[in-house]
Every structure is written in structure tokens, then in C-alpha cells.
Symmetry: C2
Subunit: 119 residues, 2 copies
């Protein structure tokens, strides 16, 4: 933390307006770095979701062709339990992981119903 | 498609109960394979989400420390536009990508508000 102390010392010798400017710039830079990470992760999430919907699209077509029902309660329960455990392992709120899966499954069921109605 | 025809021929020579059994087993195997892919993708999604919340947690603490507001309308608009474009590239419904981002951001804002109230 030594360099931090030196920096603080130099900042205090600057005129007030310069300090504010420097503080603002450092703040912008810090937020920018965080946002770049979020952007990268969001891109990964979008592409993973696209891949997930590709698979569930195939499942939907397969279910429609074989007259299987679009929703499967037992499978959903199993998925929720599995995701809750993964969330705990990843230090993520298990309630949120369940809400998240519900959100995705609702979209999947909408897709499946559309496939059935178009079949 | 030749091997498919041969298989179909053999199936038709089997007694009906055997055909149903084989059909059921093939169907189960196919669904099982799809579900394994979905499970893998879900694990990836959960871990990506955990990483995203780690970053937004840091952003939240940073914003609280520097008295910045938890929500940033301009940044959100920029994220929505970016994600819609990524969704189009990934052949994913852009409406869904927007709903998805909204869902995540709402959770992030809840986290940030909690951080502020605890600060």
C-alpha cells in the first residue's frame, strides 16, 4: 500500500480543481474496466444462451414429432435442484439461480408451443 | 440414409411390443443426449453469472463509496443496444436478449441498493 500513500500525498499538493479532475479520471477508468469485464461476460452469456436455445429448439421439434408434451415437471425439478447446488458452489444466490432457470424455461416452453402450433 | 432404411426394415420384423420398447429406448437416449448438453450449458451459464455478479458487486461497492447512483440510464441503453446486436449475430431473438438483460440488471440494482443500505 506504500505507492498508494505516495499518490495520496501528491494529490494533496495539487490545486483542488486538478484533484477533482484526477479523481474523476481515475473513477472513469475504474468503472470503464469493470464495464469491459461485464461486456465480455454478457457476450459469453448471449452466445451460451443462443447455443442453449439451439438445443431446446431441437428438443422441441423432437417432442412435437413424437407427440411428447412440451413441459416435463420431473425434469424441471431435477434441473432446479441441480442449478441450486451449482449456484451454491459458485457462491451465487440459489434463489436467483432458480428464478433464472424459470425465466429461461418459460421462454423455452413458449418456443415449444410455437413449434407445436406450427407443426 | 441407407443404414436408416436397414434399421427400419429390421424393426418392422420385430413383434410390436419389442418395436415399442426399442422406440422408447432410442427416444430416451436422444432426449438424454440433449439434456446432457443443456446441463453443460446451464453450468456454464451459472458460473458466468456468478462471475458477472462478482464484477457488479465490486461496481456496487465502488459506486457506494464514491456516492454514485446505483442505476445509470445511459449505460443501460448502451448495454441493451450492444446485446441486441450480439443476439442478432448469434441468431437469438433480440427481444429476448433485452428481457434477459433487464432481468439481470434488476437483480444487480437490488444488490446495489442492499450495499448502499448496509454502507
Amino acid at each position: 500500500m506504500k505507492s498508494g500513500h505516495i499518490r495520496l500525498h501528491l494529490v494533496h499538493e495539487m490545486p483542488k480543481s486538478k484533484q477533482v479532475q484526477l479523481g474523476q479520471r481515475k473513477m472513469d477508468e475504474k468503472l470503464k474496466q469493470y464495464r469491459e469485464s461485464i461486456n465480455n461476460i454478457d457476450a459469453a452469456l448471449v452466445f451460451m444462451l443462443a447455443e442453449r436455445f439451439k438445443v431446446t429448439q431441437a428438443v422441441g421439434e423432437y417432442k412435437a414429432k413424437n407427440s411428447l408434451p412440451p413441459a416435463d415437471g420431473a425434469r424441471e425439478k431435477e434441473q432446479i435442484a441441480r442449478l441450486r447446488q451449482l449456484a451454491i458452489d459458485a457462491n451465487l444466490d440459489p434463489e436467483f439461480s432458480e428464478k433464472f432457470l424459470r425465466f429461461i424455461i418459460d421462454e423455452v416452453i413458449r418456443h415449444h408451443e410455437r413449434i407445436r402450433s406450427e407443426a
